[in-house]
Symmetry: C2
Subunit: 401 residues, 2 copies
């Protein structure tokens, strides 16, 4: 049996980032930057005031001095002249410091009377002045690639004068559910049948991972149906199948896809829930087969599909983010398979994250998985742990999953 890490490493090694596309800045939030953002201007573009007040020569700004106000320079309306001895210009936060001035008398320390202003607190040269390029300089790489762009990055790219950005294309992931027993929600349910939940959960998970899901029509349990549906995946970045990947007589997906050229590995992974996983290629399209059991399908998707989406989106190959916390109950010793205990989270009085597993961990209980906040990671052969022991977990509540 493979370990979870071995399987993930093999999958990720086989994936390449999507090519870039150009998108409008306003559409770039959440996308993965494909090329560094190079500032096209210097910020601030000249020395500007950090406060509302008066620009003057600092040597004139002695306590009690009175200066003539020779003009005003709101932000965006620089003063055209020069500040000479005994002169000042009314300025505001963001105003360009006029030529000749090297000090700012802030409003709170100024007493204005007509065209005269009196200094009530001595001015320090350079104080309250933001220097040219204090934030960044033209030509500087202000955002490195790859990076998933947050709101602050969008603001920074705007400030660097970029109306367009190069981002990786969203990976398109086809999702194929199979089985004569499954029906779409709201459609007639065959005798002994159940509703298809995996395809929709996986599609939402693809969205959460920044991809574009394409849910294929449900394929019935015939080799031909699978093969026909498989034709629809050319040009996709990945095919995810669910169901049919057991050791029983009904491995029809695999048979069907093999007839269409699928090269695959059938892996048994030392994990719970999960275990059987299929990975291979259908022509140029990587294929990941997760179990049909809904809890196993989602846990496998968190462990393997989310990192695959990140990699396809241009981010480095990496496991899902792991958080630290403490056990909220006794955890029994683990067997040879890595376990992923569905757990609720709470924050204790000390501010620590306490993860308490549900007492029953049946892999068919989708409701319980949906109500979980985290998966506690239990390594193979991990010893029993008392309540309060440190544990590692994958948080589901912050992943959109």
């Amino acid at each position: 049996m493979l370990t979870v890490d071995e399987a993930r490493t093999r999958i990720l090694a086989d994936l390449k980032p999507t090519p870039p596309e150009t998108v409008a800045l306003a559409e770039a939030w959440g996308r993965v930057l494909a090329a560094p953002v190079i500032a096209r201007l210097t910020q601030p573009p000249s020395d500007v005031s950090a406060m509302d007040g008066y620009a003057l020569r600092a040597v004139d700004g002695t306590l009690g001095a009175a200066l003539t106000v020779i003009g005003s320079a709101p932000a965006g309306h620089p003063f055209a002249g020069r500040v000479g001895p005994g002169e000042s210009v009314r300025i505001f936060t963001g105003s360009v410091i006029p030529d000749g001035a090297d000090g700012v008398l802030i409003q709170e320390d100024a007493e204005r009377d007509g065209d005269r202003v009196t200094v009530r607190e001595a001015v320090q040269p350079g104080r309250h002045i933001r220097r040219t390029g204090q934030d960044f300089a033209a030509g500087e790489a202000v955002i490195a690639a790859p990076r998933r762009l947050g709101a602050r990055d969008i603001g920074l790219a705007a400030a660097g004068n970029h109306p367009w950005l190069a981002v990786h294309r969203r990976p398109r992931v086809a999702i194929l559910a199979t089985g004569d027993e499954i029906a779409l929600p709201g459609e007639p349910i065959p005798p002994g049948g159940i509703i298809s939940s995996n395809a929709h959960a996986l599609a939402a998970l693809v969205r959460a991972g920044g991809g574009e899901p394409c849910v294929l029509p449900i394929a019935g349990d015939t080799v031909e149906a699978v093969g026909t549906v498989a034709d629809a995946v050319a040009g996709m970045e990945m095919l995810v199948t669910t169901g049919g990947a057991s050791v029983g007589d009904h491995d029809l997906i695999i048979e069907g896809l093999k007839r269409r050229g699928l090269e695959l590995d059938f892996w048994k992974i030392a994990m719970r829930p999960g275990k059987p996983l299929v990975f291979g290629r259908l022509g140029a399209v990587p294929c990941l087969g997760v179990p049909g059991n809904p809890v196993s399908a989602i846990v496998c998707a968190v462990l393997f599909l989310l990192p695959a989406l990140a990699r396809l989106s241009g981010l480095p190959a990496a496991p899902p983010p792991v958080a630290q916390g403490i056990a909220g109950a006794t955890l029994p010793a683990n067997d040879a398979r890595a376990d992923h205990l569905r757990a609720r989270l709470r924050i204790d009085d000390a501010g620590q994250l306490v993860a308490t597993p549900f007492p029953v961990q049946d892999s068919a209980m989708l409701k319980r998985l949906a109500h979980a906040d985290a998966l506690i990671l239990r390594a193979p052969h991990a010893p029993a742990l008392p309540p309060g022991a440190p544990i590692a977990m994958i948080r589901l509540d912050t992943l959109g999953i």
Copy 2:
């Protein structure tokens, strides 16, 4: 001066969740559920097998017994007859347990030869059988509202046979930037001008918070321009303005909006960066005015706009999520204003989150804010802290911000 908590409480008290709308299940990911999801069927709908194997009467499943295989029942194809003494039916994971059977001989413990199967490990009654309703029962509220729907919720709603869900409408937030000195990225920059970055950062933050941004055209520094633009916000859930909210001569936004009926409070908040905040109503539309300074604008948006978006989206009124970590450097004693130190995060060998503030915290340095992972929260008058001391923070890296 108001505290951050007082200001947030006042803002949130004034906001009401948007009404519900019906969306297709496939479009419901990330939306806030407006009514509980009541399961429309029982899951599993009948007793089903948890394993591949043979259904039989448990009393017949003694070690070494040989039974006749009278049929096969793949998932979705229930066996029509009844299992009698000495008989068995081939079944698979998810297959309905046929009438008469109360035990499952798993495949690994079965020896098949033609239409006979021999028991190699005694069968326990009820073992490997998932009982009707083990996951949930028809009529049960499987997802409570309000809740932001993750991928697992989508799967659970599908399993409960819901092709449509009632969710709160995305709050529409108009964003108004003002100032003669600002230009859109890629457009000609006026003398002494800068690029408008706040509107785009705020729009992305609105998306991150589940809202729909509407960036209004930049209003010049005239009262009339503001008033004209303000006409465009009728029917919006919120107006966010940026810039113009200083104590200087250029409070044109406020003047402009007042002429259009704005009722507002001008608040000074005991916080850094930030301080001036405007909150009020323009007719039925709540208005939030954040500072023009890009760092202050984004920090104020994290503290006030994100919780407002959550509340408008139907979620409870609450502050942004706070995480615990430890200080990566000495933190000086704080003054009377709550501080929000821009910090990088790393995970130390013990798995703890270490937040190290940038040495310079100038509120005009957007690049530094964009490179930060978290805001370390420093309460008013907080004492100095040594490296390694516990601290609270708002993580920006996981909020899409």
